[in-house]
Structures are given as structure tokens and as C-alpha cells.
């Protein structure tokens, strides 16, 4: 009987997570903030499109599949992942958590028969899905804009070469980045009234990852994500090298980390009081 009741309770909670996710996704895909996030993510598409203005004879000589793969890896690591995924996750996370408190609408969830941990889970899933869609679209668009330099060779590169495998890997890293950064930033939203400052500190920390000693690299989300890249861009002469974690450790670890952070954020939410006037 207890097992049945427990199963029913978990079934109910799952439905509640889905309902909250649905509501929150609508919030993610509307408003002026979405325009800013989209422009931020699609900026590399515009930049990469400039490459098509390079004279054809030079382009044919310079832009081999290997060279393009290197260029994309640099663009992905430096911009799409570190800037695009990070700031998209930050913007959506702040919008779904902190902005709701500032706009005095968070209490509607707290007045429903739902555990606050479930509310946090629903919001987190929505933020991850939305950021994955936005950043994933930018990854795909920029990939094809760049590799279309191959002309007729694009199809061959994608289906007979490493192209599609690399793209799937980049998309996977993008989704994992959304999960990892989304979880940390959701926690920041619970810990600080103004999560922007700690988010910028985290951004700085991630930016100097290459300078960090190996044991400190373990505390960086980017360290695990970079180990999954199909092509790792060259690091500078000042970089301190460390053995990358295995794929299994990176993938499972990222989800486990996100789960742990969510539990913590849920616990914080369960102790939260609605006193908007002092928030």
C-alpha cells in the first residue's frame, strides 16, 4: 500500500514538474531578454559568415576541413561555450528565479500544493531546455555557416567524414554546459539577492581555467566540458596542463553535480519566505 502511495506521489510530482516546466518555458521564450540572448548566441554566425567574402582561390587553399575544424573548435570554446552558454544560462536562470521574486509573482507557486523542491526542479528543467534550444541552434547555425565553405564537399564531410560526429559532440557539450552552468547559477539565485556579481566571479574563474593548477581545475565546469570536445584548441604557452577527466566522469559527474546542486537549491527554497518588500 505504501509503495503504491509513494508511486502515486512521485507520479504526481512528475506531472507537477512537467506543468511547471511548461509554464516556465513560455516565460523563457518571450520578452526583450530573449532578443538579447539570441543576438549574443548568433553573433558568431554573422562573424563566420564574413569568411565567405574571402576570394575563392585563397579560400580553397586555406580552408581545408582540418583548418575549418580547428577554427570552429576555437570559436566554440572561446565564444559559444564560455560566453554563449554561460550568459544564456545566467540570463534564463536569473529570469526564472530571481526576477520572479522581484516581480512578486513567485508566491503563486508557493501557494500551490507542490513541494518547493519540485518547483525548483521544474524551473531548472525549463531553463536548461530553453538555453539548450537557443545555444544549440547557434551551434548548428555557426557550424553550417563555417563548413559551407567546403561547398560540394560539405555533404561528404558530414556523412563520410567526422562532420556529423563532431557536431553531435558539440551539441552534447552545449547541453551539458547548460545543465552544469544552469545548476550553479540556480544555486546562486538561492544564495544571493543579486546573483549577477557571483555569476561574473564564476565567469572570471572559468576564464582563467588554463592558468589554474590541476586540483583547482577540478572545481571548474569548463574543465569537464572541454574534455568532451572532439577537437581541443591549442592552449597558450602559459597554460598549466592537467589530465582531462574521462568521458564517463565528465558526463555522469556533470549530471550528478547538477542533481546535488538542485537538492541544495531545493532545500534553500523550502526555507524561503515571501517577504517581497524586503527582497
Amino acid at each position: 500500500m505504501t509503495a503504491v502511495t509513494d508511486r502515486a506521489a512521485w507520479g504526481l510530482r512528475l506531472r507537477q514538474v512537467l506543468a511547471i516546466t511548461r509554464l516556465e518555458l513560455r516565460k523563457c521564450f518571450r520578452g526583450r531578454r530573449l532578443i538579447g540572448i539570441t543576438l549574443l548566441n548568433l553573433a558568431p554566425v554573422a562573424i563566420l559568415a564574413l569568411i565567405h567574402f574571402v576570394p575563392e582561390e585563397i579560400a580553397a587553399r586555406k580552408f581545408t576541413p582540418t583548418r575549418l575544424a580547428e577554427m570552429y573548435a576555437v570559436m566554440f570554446t572561446i565564444y559559444l561555450l564560455r560566453v554563449g552558454v554561460f550568459f544564456t544560462s545566467a540570463a534564463l536562470s536569473i529570469q526564472l528565479f530571481r526576477t520572479e521574486v522581484l516581480e512578486k509573482t513567485f508566491h503563486y507557486y508557493l501557494l500551490a500544493p507542490v513541494r518547493r523542491e519540485v518547483v525548483m526542479a521544474g524551473k531548472f528543467v525549463a531553463a536548461c531546455m530553453a538555453s539548450a534550444v537557443i545555444c544549440g541552434t547557434a551551434v548548428i547555425a555557426s557550424y553550417f555557416v563555417l563548413f559551407s565553405m567546403l561547398g560540394d564537399g560539405l555533404g561528404k564531410y558530414m556523412f563520410s567524414g567526422p562532420g556529423s560526429g563532431h557536431l553531435v559532440a558539440y551539441l552534447g557539450v552545449t547541453v551539458l554546459g547548460c545543465v552544469g552552468y544552469g545548476a550553479v547559477l540556480a544555486l546562486f539565485d538561492q544564495l544571493w539577492k543579486n546573483p549577477i556579481i557571483p555569476a561574473l566571479v564564476l565567469f572570471g574563474w572559468e576564464s582563467v581555467l588554463f592558468l589554474l593548477p590541476p586540483f583547482l581545475k577540478l572545481t571548474s565546469v569548463l574543465f569537464y566540458l572541454e574534455s568532451l570536445l572532439p577537437y581541443r584548441p591549442p592552449v597558450g604557452p602559459l597554460a598549466i596542463l592537467a589530465d582531462p577527466p574521462s568521458t564517463m566522469v565528465s558526463v555522469v559527474g556533470m549530471f550528478a553535480f547538477a542533481g546535488l546542486v538542485l537538492i541544495l537549491a531545493g532545500w534553500r527554497a523550502s526555507r524561503m519566505e515571501i517577504v517581497y518588500s524586503t527582497d
Binding site: I20, L23, R26, Y108, L110
Partner: protein, 315 residues
């Protein structure tokens, strides 16, 4: 469960740092309409937020029936709360707003839609259900919040200033709605500063000031307990001077004022029942023609004036 449903507060205090929200409140709020009255900063909203679990008591215990308020998964199937916050998630229509939060209860979309339509219909907003909430007037926003709070047919409805922003007709409709809910055996707890309407709709009142409950109970019972202020009784009759002289003969009469039109008088007395007996006797035995006898200060406004005074004005 429903038969003896009540909100029970036991020694509840809430402090915001060093600022007092409410202090040592113990009471039981039963079925019917109970109104919270007090000036700004009296602790009314804090009490409502405590009762609905939006804030946690610093001390004490709150339960609805035998369910502690912290058990949100259960308690909010019983409770609906229409807060004072005039804020809504962006971009939603009235229907989407009510339906969306019903789906968070775990209902199917179809069931949520059905209940949302019924709730919007009950508050007279069905025609505007597909318009954005942002385009609603203040009165409409108030009503859509009310619809959201009552859509799941809660046994306990908590309303913070529910009549704010409503035009007279909407106000009358909402009052009727609240009465219907009370008549159906539900607990309706409201805070309001519109004292004459509180007077009309309330089965009982809770007067608060500075975080303390000053008085609680039925309006008449509370008035009886305010002994330092004599009762004001208005009598309209054909011989007010005669009645005045007989009233002055009673020990408990404090003051008598005869109306300018010489067709009535206002008696201040410490024993209203004694005065009523005198009026009855004069009417029955000495032919005094009585037009009306009614208490002049047996209402929330008077209780407010007597117990709270002008500290901060009405809230």
C-alpha cells in the same frame, strides 16, 4: 476532517529581525467569514502570510485541522490565498493564468481548463478570459486573483483586501460570492479596511494593532466586552423628553441627547439591556410610540474607534 475544520494558531509570533510582525497570537478561526481589521502595520498581512505558510513563525504552531501549515503538498489543496500583491506573470491571459497554476496541482489540462472557466465565470470575468491580464483594469485584476485563489474549491479561502479596486457592483458580487462560500461551510478569512462592508459580511472580527490581537469574536460579543465605552442606543419615538427623564433615573445612564427634530434621542448607557427593558415598559404600559430602537455603536467602525483609535487611520 471537514466537519471540524478550523485554523488553529498557538502562541504564534513572527519577528523580522528585531521588528515585530505579530506577537503571541493564539486563536481558532472557524467556519464563516472572519475579518481582520487594524491600521497599517498592525500585522494583518503577516498573520495572513503565516496562516498560508508564505512566512514561517518565529515561535508557535499553525495548523489547519490537524495538518501543520508546513505540509504544503496537502495544505494547499485545502487553502486558497488571494494576496495583496498586484502582480502577475507576464504575457498570460486571465484563462492561462488561472489554468496554468491549476495544472501545477497535478490536474490534467482539460480538468484545469474546466475549473478555470468555472472560477472566471463565478467572478464575472469569463468574457475577458482570453484578454491579457496586463490589459485588465485594477478591479479585473483583483477578480482574476480571486478566481485563481478559489478555482480549486478550497475549504479555506484567505483574502488580503479583496474588495480593493472593485467598483460598487463588483464589490457586491464578490461579497455575495464570499457569503455563498461561508454558507457552504467554508472558512473565509479576509482583511479589509472598508469597515462598513466588514460589518455587513463578517460573522466575526479580529482586531489587531501593533502585532497584537486586541479583540476577537462576534461583533456583538466584542462590543459587550468593551466596558469602558458606554453603549450608544438610538431611539426614535414620539415623546423623547419623557423617555429622557425616565432614562436619567436609571443608574447606568451616562448621557442623553435629544435629536433636533424632537423625534428621537441618543442614550449613552453602561447597561443597554436595562435601557431596552425601560423602553419596552414605557411602550407597553405608558403608550410611548416607538418608531425604532437600535444600537448606534455595535459595529466594527465603533469597535475600531474604541479599541484602536486613530493610530495610523484605518487600514
Amino acid at each position: 476532517m471537514t466537519a471540524d475544520l478550523a485554523i488553529r494558531l498557538t502562541e504564534v509570533s513572527k519577528f523580522y529581525g528585531e521588528v515585530l510582525g505579530v506577537n503571541r497570537v493564539s486563536m481558532t478561526i472557524g467556519k464563516g467569514i472572519t475579518s481582520l481589521v487594524g491600521p497599517n502595520g498592525a500585522g494583518k498581512t503577516t498573520l495572513l502570510n503565516l496562516v498560508t505558510g508564505l512566512v514561517r513563525p518565529t515561535q508557535g504552531h499553525i495548523a489547519i485541522g490537524d495538518i501543520p501549515i508546513t505540509d504544503s503538498e496537502v495544505i494547499f489543496r485545502l487553502v486558497g490565498y488571494c494576496t495583496q500583491y498586484d502582480a502577475f506573470p507576464r504575457g498570460l491571459t486571465g484563462l492561462e493564468f488561472v489554468r496554468g497554476y491549476l495544472t501545477v496541482h497535478g490536474m490534467t489540462r482539460a480538468r484545469a481548463h474546466e475549473l478555470a472557466v468555472a472560477a472566471l465565470s463565478a467572478v464575472g470575468l469569463l468574457d475577458a478570459a482570453d484578454r491579457k491580464v496586463a490589459a485588465y483594469s485594477k478591479g479585473m485584476r483583483q477578480r482574476v486573483k480571486l478566481a485563481q485563489a478559489m478555482a480549486h474549491s478550497p475549504e479555506v479561502l484567505v483574502l488580503d483586501e479583496p474588495l480593493n479596486g472593485l467598483d460598487p457592483m463588483a464589490r457586491a458580487e464578490v461579497i455575495e460570492l464570499l457569503r455563498a462560500m461561508a454558507a457552504a461551510g467554508k472558512i473565509v478569512l479576509i482583511s479589509s479596511h472598508i469597515l462598513h462592508e466588514v460589518d455587513v459580511i463578517s460573522d466575526s472580527v479580529i482586531l489587531m494593532n501593533h502585532g497584537y490581537v486586541v479583540a476577537e469574536g462576534g461583533i456583538h460579543e466584542v462590543r459587550q466586552e468593551v466596558e469602558e465605552h458606554p453603549f450608544q442606543v438610538l431611539v426614535r419615538c414620539d415623546q423623547p423628553s419623557r423617555l429622557a427623564s425616565r432614562a436619567f433615573a436609571l443608574d447606568h445612564t451616562v448621557e442623553v441627547k435629544i435629536h433636533a427634530d424632537a423625534r428621537g434621542l441618543l442614550v449613552s448607557t453602561k447597561d443597554a439591556a436595562g435601557l431596552y427593558r425601560l423602553v419596552n415598559r414605557l411602550a407597553a404600559e405608558e403608550g410611548l410610540a416607538i418608531e425604532a430602537v437600535q444600537p448606534a455603536d455595535d459595529d466594527v467602525q465603533s469597535l475600531y474607534d474604541y479599541l484602536i483609535g486613530n493610530e495610523g487611520g484605518h487600514s
